[in-house]
Amino acid sequence: MSVAMSSARVRRTPSRVDDIAGLGRVGAGLFMAPALALIGVFLIFPALWTIYLGMTNYRLTGLAAADPDFVGLDNYTQVLGDSSFWWSLRLTLVFVVLSGILGQMMLGFSIAWALRHLKGLAKSLTETLVLAAWVVPGSVGSFLWLALLDRRGGTLNVLLDSPGTAWLINYPMASIIIFNIWVGTAFSMLLFSSALASVPPSQMEGAEMVGATAWQQLRDVVIPNIKGHILTNTLLITLWTFNTFTPYLLTAGGPNGQSEILAVYIYRTAIPGGQLGKGAAISLIMLLINLVIALGYIHLARGKKKRA
């Protein structure tokens, strides 16, 4: 009752139409100030600093570390003309599509779909197992995988009776893709589990009554209902997979750059390679790609809402 009254009062004052909390311009500004200050210090300043660094020849050691020169867009022309950058970008796309979009999403959805009627112990056991991979810290998880894939006496070689197979050397991309699917599937599974729970049971029952097959139910009832979830999940997973660095712990980008996805490429250029300026330039390019991905999804989401 009192809520209705106060909102009615607010509405009566024309100047207060947008000020639902009743803070006033200054009050709202002060409320936002700490958050904005933190965002400024930890997000906007580093981003601007990266733009600046990317236009210098700054290095980790040597003369250019003490006294970097401004080189304009040299780093960018160098990077864009460097075949190893394009190679790395291509690897990253393969990695995102196979391990993120196809692997994590499909597997996560399949598990959620398979578990939807399951109850009790079997369900929590499966969920716990999948979740464990996500909960384990990256360094621990990678160590487990190193032990699994080790060339000498690794678990996989013992199981398959294939002594001496250097999985991480012979199949570096396949290894990190499967590793990343293992790591990330839990998130998709959880998200799709709750999405599936939100599908109105009446619609499912209706579909079943008219004799729809499982595939038809999926296509005509479930997917239209969880479209928003799919879009959000794809966005998050694409960005996470695009930016992930954990595969470095397995292959260090090797052998010979064969698993050097973009995040690893930047690290190897900037830190062990010492070329901080060039690394900053590639980082900015990566940031722009991230923005494009995010804007693309937002555009898709808006279009969906309009149609709905």
Binding site: A21, L30, F31, R59, T61, A66, L168, I169
Partner: protein
Amino acid sequence: MNRSKNIGVTMSAAALVVILAACGQGASDTPVESAAPSAPETVSMTANAITGGKNAAEADWFTDWVKPQFEAAMKADGRDVTVVFEPQGVDDENYKTKIALDLQSGGGADIIGMDGIWVGEFAQAGYIEPLSDVAGSVVDEWDGWPQISEAVQNALSFEGERYGVPQGADGRVLYYNKALFAQAGLPENWNPTSWADVLDASRALKAIDGVVPIQLNAGTAMGEATTMQGVLPLLVGTGVELWKDGKWLGGTKELGEVLGLYRTIYVDEMLGDPIMQQEAAGRDNSFAQFAAGKIGILLEGDYFWRSVINPAEGVGNAPMADRDTNVGYALIPAMKPGAGVNGQDFVSMSGGTGRVLNPNSKNPELAWELLAFMNSADAFRSRVAGTISITPREDVNAEVLKGDAMLTFVSEEILPITAYRPGLAAYPEVSLALQEATVAVVAGEPVDQVLESYSKAVADIVGAENVDNG
């Protein structure tokens, strides 16, 4: 003003106060100069050494001898000093990155262990300063300098200034497994005099099942080990050096010979394991494989003998119980007798590690006192008690090297014929270009093509006018 607005203002003001207070606390956390002589002081040192792992002997020596001895000595002077050791046990490349970041951000331990070849680039970056600039004139008065030869001091010097105290000298040899040699019908006392001799022995070893005949470091994953225990000892065996008379070596015929040997070993005759040199932990794996009797010949430094296959408890990270009877070592031959640098029959490469003072140290006098203490004759006697190495001090070497045939060999046979890397800031990048050249050769690219891309890479680094393409 209504009530909710009041609350909002108060809350945001409170939030601001909390944040500002937190900032203020950080800013006021500046060092307070301790005037009282008995005020507790701390001095720290870091090195790529860790008990139970890499360079364990150095780590143990530091915690078991240096720390208690130095703290006791300071106590006798009425000072309350705590010595802190910050151990690391990682690849040299990662260690270098870590200390560079430490120094760049104004932090890091007071005393930092580093490879002599890094001194130039660290000094140019302004991360380290000459010892006497950090700790004052007391450095030049130290009684240890006359005991350390000029050549050894140079390992930690740059542009004529001492940046650190060297830890000793080293040299590279060919190690071989005598049991495998016997099995392949090769002599127990092996003295190859040319690359062809080494290849012949490797071919003989190839007949033994499950054994890698020869492992020659290659690839970028091994970092500097590829250059120092691979390309450079071979290069001096062809009669040239990487840097001579102001010019860097380009894609010359001599480098072609070196890369050709890589090709013979890894591609044409499969005498080495081309996968091992691509593994992230390839060098450690090569150690373990040699210790397990699975590698016939391995080019390594005396470090391998002292700190890797050393059977003494807790010293080697791939100990070989029968090291003294089963592991042989031979001088690295030039390509052909007399074809080495300066017309030598045998060649080697040497480097040197040492310790520098951190210019960010809050107590540089104390740090220097500890550094000088660690380099006293007593300290080195204790350092080499468990595992003998060639120390920088001539007085200590004269006493201790008698006890180890291998290190006497290095000191007497190798140090006179050895060569050093150019201590220039561009060196690490040129070194990386050499490592990349070996990667390409092992991956099967034709040598001519690799030479061409190598000369282009070097020209990009140092400028085409500073490259000698033969």
